[in-house]
């Protein structure tokens, strides 16, 4: 028997290779170098790799514009505008996180490059998920992404909660992966392939007399994804993990996991199972209602800001799911637009939480934020903008993100669903505003000024300016998101 080596289009997988290559280079450097690799070198490597990936994204975009979307490595990896934009967002989030983590590592006296290696490796998994055209590759990406994050969650060895978070994440994530791969197996059984295009072609040209196997498989896939994006009722890990993990890691988790998981979810539900729209839509409907309402309501009763942001991100996951529910080009574009705008905001928010957390990363009660804007007007105002953007007020990107998904939903006849989601936003307003009020409160306890190192300040400024500039002028981002999804939806 002759082994056929599939042809490889290297430009397609170059971002993944760059990220993984940089991780390996750091591993080798730390093993070969005499003494420790300086932190600056590690951070620079991460930023260089992510920047290189962004440059490659540009050439990929040109390539797609010239030759159209293409698949490679036995149709398992896809190169289209959607993957290019999603990869770009991941690379951007990684750069931002690396800058925040740099200052954090100095403050916490963490030397060594393990953090950076794991972050790079994890991100390469997320990149793979955005490009996957095969259930097995999605699984692969998911595992690479998660395993790195399990370790990162436990990175703060001094705090027992960090290990607890990692263990919880590991156990539940392991379950989710198992459920996902079982779902993939069942879908394979029903359709004879794990390739998304083939599944789509098969379902489009055949009528399943006994669709039970496919439904079961699809449902299990959905459960696997719901775990990753922390949709209610599969969200239970997320508050504990967000709280326990070192704060820069939480920021990374909240951004790249969402981008990767939603990119893959869109491909599975729209590209592969698009013909089964009427079957998965009601399930998603219930999932969205629960996710938005429970996320917002439970956030209100939290006193720990990291838990609050965890529930807030659950609420956002519900909103992003709205775009998937729509099942149209507009919906997919809205989903992409939402993650593009949400990722920088959430990383910048966690950057501020990292700063306020102080040495030991322990001060995360809302009282810490009393009068922050009085003591440090710029930092406080920046945080207020980030919170208001997450709340979705006009003149921030958060408004247009919500506008985009809600428009897509209303366009496909989901007025009631849109209304429920908006009511959850009104509930969420309660805790975002309470936080803003705390920032500006007068009766603040005497607290030390929060030190703002330069590179973290740059990240925060980037997040704030991004949300304000594109909040006033959303045109370019909308066009980008729309362009990126035109070729993608069958």
């Amino acid at each position: 028997m002759k082994l056929v080596v599939p042809s490889i289009h290297y430009l397609t997988i170059l971002p993944v290779l760059i990220f993984f290559g940089a991780a390996l280079a750091l591993v080798l450097a730390s093993a070969l170098a005499r003494g420790k690799v300086p932190l600056v070198v590690a951070t620079s490597t991460v930023i260089a790799a992510a920047t290189a990936s962004l440059v490659v994204n540009y050439f990929q975009w040109r390539c797609v514009a010239r030759a159209g979307a293409s698949v490679t490595i036995a149709h398992a990896i896809v190169l289209d505008d959607f993957s290019v934009v999603a990869s770009g967002v991941i690379a951007l989030s990684v750069i931002m996180t690396a800058l925040v983590a740099h200052d954090w590592a100095i403050r916490e006296r963490i030397s060594g490059v393990e953090f950076h290696i794991l972050a790079l490796a994890s991100s390469s998994g997320a990149l793979l998920m955005t490009q996957a055209n095969d259930l097995i590759v999605i699984f692969l990406g998911l595992e690479i992404l998660s395993i790195g994050l399990y370790v990162l969650a436990a990175f703060d060895r001094h705090r027992p909660t960090s290990s607890e978070a990692a263990l919880k994440y590991f156990l539940l994530g392991g379950f989710a992966s198992a459920i996902f791969i079982y779902g993939a197996a069942l879908v394979y059984g029903a359709t004879g392939s794990t390739n998304l295009s083939t599944i789509s072609y098969f379902l489009g040209s055949n009528v399943l007399l006994h669709p039970g196997l496919l439904y079961a498989g699809g449902a299990l896939l959905l459960v696997g994804f719901a775990f990753e994006i922390a949709a209610v009722p599969f969200h239970l890990w997320s508050p504990d993990v967000y709280e326990g993990s070192p704060t820069p890691v939480t920021g990374l988790m909240a951004s790249i996991v969402k981008v990767g998981a939603f990119a893959a979810l869109l491909r599975v539900l729209i590209s592969a199972l698009g013909t089964q729209l009427d079957t998965w839509r009601p399930i998603l409907w219930i999932l969205i209602v629960l996710t938005t309402l429970v996320g917002a309501s439970l956030a209100v009763v939290q006193r720990n800001v990291k838990r609050m942001l965890a529930y807030s991100s659950i609420n956002h996951a519900g909103f992003i799911l709205l775009g998937v529910w729509a099942g149209t080009i507009r919906g997919s574009a809205a989903t992409l637009f939402y993650v593009i705008t949400y990722a920088p905001v959430v990383v910048a928010s966690f950057a501020i939480v990292t700063l306020v957390g102080g040495v030991g990363d322990e001060h995360h009660s809302i009282e810490r934020y009393q009068g922050l804007a009085r003591r440090q007007p710029w930092l406080g105002a920046a945080f207020a903008v980030l919170l208001l953007s997450q709340l979705g007020v006009p003149l921030t990107t958060g408004f247009y993100a919500k506008f985009a998904v809600l428009a897509a939903v209303v366009d496909t006849g989901g007025g009631a669903l849109a209304l429920i989601a908006l009511i959850s936003a009104a509930i969420a307003a309660f805790f975002y505003l309470r936080w803003v009020t705390a920032l500006y409160s007068d009766d603040a306890p005497e607290a030390a000024r929060v030190a703002v190192p330069r590179s973290t300040a740059a990240v925060i400024a980037f997040g704030v300016l991004g949300t304000l500039v594109f909040g006033v002028w959303p045109g370019p981002l909308v066009t980008l998101a729309q362009h990126a999804t035109v070729l993608f939806t069958p």
Binding site: A333, L388, V393, P394, L395, F399, Y400, F403, A404, L406, A407, V410, D411, G415, A418, L419, L422, I423, A425, A426, A429, F430, L433, R434, T437, Y440, S441, W473, P474, G475, V478, T479, Q482
Partner: protein
């Protein structure tokens, strides 16, 4: 120069001044000077616009100074401004309110931030009234929440956090319905012609064909948002605490101005876009309005503090405005638009005087006052003028508008007017009674020591008194500007309702 530049200037001036004022942290008092200068300029500009306004621009449906630029086509986002007879008065009121609020209720603590928020609020309110595009209107409508929130939460009374939060959440929830309704309407319009672009332009949307049921649902969605903002009974529960806890300048902005966004939106959007719904919904809203009139009047009699007193009397007055807006009669609708302006001016007067008293005594509880008329005769006189206008004394502005509303509505919905007229009597009751308790009798203790209105305070109230008297005696120029636009609106919605 394109005529729309006037309106763009109306938006840019307060915005630029807000940025300018916020960046003068170092120099004491400079922010205030910047803010006053900008507000005066804004008022002059708005008066120029009001004088130049021409209701016969070809193809513009009584809109003037109009322009439209699409900003983000996939979202249907556009910059689309213009004024007609209905928004014209509101534009002037916006400029007037911020100027008088700044002049009469100066806040010295963190002044740059305060005046910056006030100017931003004026900019966003102006934007709402100038919008001819539903999405643009919604964006400005939502944006007004942010400055109001910060003004209440930072410069308010003891319960300010609670009041600010309540205000924000109520309005935000209300506008959720408006948002979904807006999207639904826009997509319905887009799907009428396959392949057409998404648009939120008011003129285009008002031609959308829809079934009766759809119209009713959309009307309800819009009406909830505007009823919360107005506030119309039973959506009013945020208003007493908000008016009471906000700093005086904030109370003025919210009660005199932001509340008008509710009735304005009700008239322009809820009524203007869904004429089919009116047959069924008119009696409902009219009933709520009448309940609001009676309820507001009754609670105004019993409330213990002066700011809540104005809040409840405002609920009653907003009931009158809603009555006119929903009447389907041209006369009553013109009256309602005029009352929006007059009530704004009267409310500015009330809150300014209450602010003066609060500054002297540190209290707004009615029971703390007695016989202020003796030591402060000028203040009492000014209060009397404002109060009599609010009661609707002939010769003062309140009379003209209330009279128009009542006779206009009587022709179309007589029974509601029969009940609502009791509200006029009740207004006399609660206002005179409150006046008696505060100003009559023999002043003792701290009340006897109270200083009369200073020249500055008198000058601030001069525009209020002048407007009250002039609009009471000679409202014709204003009515002439309102009427064509209202006629056109009523004509647009008439086939489904009563024509009067």
């Amino acid at each position: 120069m394109h005529a729309s530049l006037w309106l763009t200037l109306l938006l840019v001036i307060p915005l630029a001044a807000a940025i300018g004022a916020a960046s003068t942290r170092k120099v004491e008092g400079r922010a205030y000077v910047v803010a006053i200068g900008a507000s005066v300029l804004e008022l002059v500009l708005s008066l120029v616009v009001a004088c130049l306004y021409n209701d016969h621009v070809v193809g513009a449906q009584t809109f003037d100074f109009a322009t439209r630029h699409v900003l983000a086509a996939p979202f249907g986002l556009a910059y689309d401004v213009g004024v007609d007879g209905i928004s014209l008065l509101m534009v002037v009121l916006t400029a007037l309110t911020v100027l008088l609020a700044l002049l009469g209720a100066r806040v010295r603590r963190q002044e740059p931030a305060f005046v910056a928020w006030m100017l931003l609020l004026s900019c966003f309110t102006m934007g709402s009234f100038l919008s001819r595009d539903l999405l643009e209107f919604f964006i400005f409508f939502e944006l007004t929440l942010i400055p109001s929130y910060f003004i209440i939460a930072q410069w308010g009374g003891k319960e300010r956090s609670k009041a600010a939060l309540k205000f924000f959440i109520y309005t935000f929830t209300g506008s959720a319905f408006l948002f979904v309704g807006t999207l639904y309407l826009a997509f319905m319009h887009q799907h009428e012609v396959p392949g057409s672009a998404l648009t939120f332009a008011f003129g285009a949307l008002s031609t959308t064909a829809m079934s009766h049921g759809t119209a009713v649902w959309l009307f309800i969605a819009f009406a909830i948002a505007f009823a919360v903002k107005s506030p119309i009974w039973p959506f009013h529960t945020w208003s007493p605490i908000t008016y009471a806890e906000a700093p005086t300048a904030g109370s003025i902005e919210i009660a005199a101005l932001l509340a008008k966004l509710g009735t304005y939106g009700m008239l322009r959007f809820a009524v203007g876009l869904f004429p089919l719904a009116l047959v069924g919904m008119r009696p409902v809203i009219l009933t709520l309005a009448v309940i609001g009139i009676i309820y507001g009047s009754m609670l105004a009699c019993t409330t213990p503090d002066l700011k809540r007193f104005v809040a409840y009397s405002s609920i009653a007055q907003m009931g009158f405005i809603t009555l006119g807006v929903m009447s389907g009669s041209t006369i009553a609708t013109v009256g309602a638009v005029l009352l929006m302006f007059n009530h704004g001016v009267i409310t500015i007067g009330f809150f300014l005087i209450i602010g003066f008293i609060e500054k002297r005594r540190g209290s707004i509880l009615i029971k703390d006052f007695k016989g202020l008329q003796g030591p402060a005769p000028i203040m009492a006189a000014l209060f009397t003028v404002v109060m009599l206008a609010s009661i609707g004394l002939p010769g003062l502005s309140g009379f003209v508008s209330e009279y128009l509303i009542l006779i206009g509505t009587f022709a179309t919905h007589s029974w509601w007017v029969v009940v609502a007229t009791f509200g006029v009597v009740a207004a006399a009751l609660y206002l005179l009674w409150a006046y008696q308790r505060v100003f009559h009798g023999k002043a003792e203790g701290a009340n006897a020591e109270i200083a009369d209105a200073t020249p500055h305070e008198q000058w601030v109230l001069v525009p209020v008194v002048v407007l009250i008297v002039v609009l009471g005696v000679f409202p014709k120029p204003v009515l002439d500007r309102i009427t064509p636009s209202v006629q056109q609106l009523i004509h647009h919605v008439a086939p489904s309702g009563v024509i009067k």
